[in-house]
């Protein structure tokens, strides 16, 4: 007998349903911890555990959604170009800030996880934690980590940046709101950028572009940095 769960429509349907409900919740209460992706993930996992359906069965249908991640990354290239054209002012200092911040982000998380005795697979999964989720997932496939762990950590980092980034940076005597925006986009990708847009529109533009540039840089350098640092560890 074939169970309903085994049909591809099952995983596809509950993903869309969970996301729809999570988005309604977010609109209603507008609270950063009600991040729709996080809420739908938790809801789907809880549901699957309750009805004892394993991930592979769920993924029978859900994989048709995750397939589109690949063309979406190409689409991000188009978005990055658009953002690039928006800011006409001198980009050199800005790109320096993002490049240094983005590279240090990769190096510090690799070194810290090694110092904290994380197994190598965890270090490989954390390296890309600052960039937008689809890019981070692709990087982790290359660095041979666990993409699912990356996805969760990346979203958590974004929520942290969104919830505490502005207050933290002000406490550390950062006054320029453009600098706060740049930092949020570099360290906390799209979820952090959402907070920068609330701060002011120009800070939001800086944040969005920082996310893009860091996405490009991190995608290219992470596999090499992981290899290099793990060699010495």
């Amino acid at each position: 007998m074939i169970h309903f769960y085994d049909l591809p429509v099952f995983g596809f349907f509950i993903t869309i349903l969970a996301f729809y409900i999570a988005q309604r919740l977010k609109k209603r209460f507008n609270y950063v911890f009600l991040n729709p992706v996080l809420v739908s993930m938790v809801a789907i996992i809880t549901f699957l555990e309750c009805v004892s359906v394993d991930f592979d069965t769920y993924n029978n249908g859900a994989k048709y959604l995750s397939f589109f991640l690949s063309p979406t990354i190409v689409a991000l290239g188009v978005l990055f170009y658009e953002k690039f054209e928006q800011i006409k002012s001198n980009l050199k200092p800005f790109i320096t800030a993002v490049a240094v911040g983005g590279t240090i982000s990769i190096i510090t998380v690799i070194v810290l996880s090694i110092l904290l005795h994380a197994p190598e697979i965890i270090t490989r999964s954390l390296a890309a934690k600052s960039v937008t989720t689809p890019i981070a997932i692709e990087i982790t496939k290359i660095t041979k980590g666990i993409p699912s762990i990356t996805a969760v950590v990346v979203i958590a980092v974004g929520i942290f940046g969104n919830a505490f980034g502005v207050e933290l940076l002000r406490f550390l005597k950062i006054k320029s709101s453009n600098a706060i925006g740049t930092a949020l986009g570099t360290a906390a990708h799209g979820i952090g950028t959402a907070r920068a847009i609330e701060l002011d529109p120009l800070a939001g533009a800086y944040s969005g572009l920082a996310m893009c540039i860091n996405g490009l840089i991190t995608a290219v350098v992470t596999p090499y940095l992981v290899q290099l640092i793990l060699q010495f560890a």
Binding site: I16, V37, M41, I44, L48, S70, L76, G101, N178, T182
Partner: protein
């Protein structure tokens, strides 16, 4: 719409081919992302040619990575065993990144 979709997938295919032929340790879709960005910048293709499909994909982007998040359920044991390094390494690294990026941007933009 269909034209732009054909373009997006052509770049994706090209990226995968380049990865395959040259054996580069970067995902094919990321090579494609860099290629489409470069082609737009060098005016080899027009923004209006690729924008409709790109916008549609980005609109639904978050939906596409939910299954990866759900995949975490397979790794509950790994997470339970390693939650301390995961949380502390990510947290400290994020704070350093935030501060460093902000301070460089603030110092340089004043000049």
């Amino acid at each position: 719409m269909y034209k732009s979709l054909v373009y997006i997938f052509s770049f994706l295919a090209l990226g995968e081919i380049i990865k395959y032929v040259f054996n580069i340790p970067i995902a094919g879709n990321i090579i494609a992302m860099i290629l489409i960005f470069t082609c737009l910048k060098l005016k080899i293709i027009k923004l209006s040619t690729v924008k409709p499909a790109a916008d549609a994909l980005i609109k639904y982007m978050v939906l596409f990575f939910i299954p990866y998040g759900v995949g975490m359920m397979v790794y509950f044991d790994v997470l339970k065993e390693n939650w301390i390094p995961i949380i502390f390494a990510s947290l400290i690294s994020t704070i350093i990144t935030l501060y460093l990026t902000a301070i460089i941007q603030q110092k340089l933009e004043k000049k």
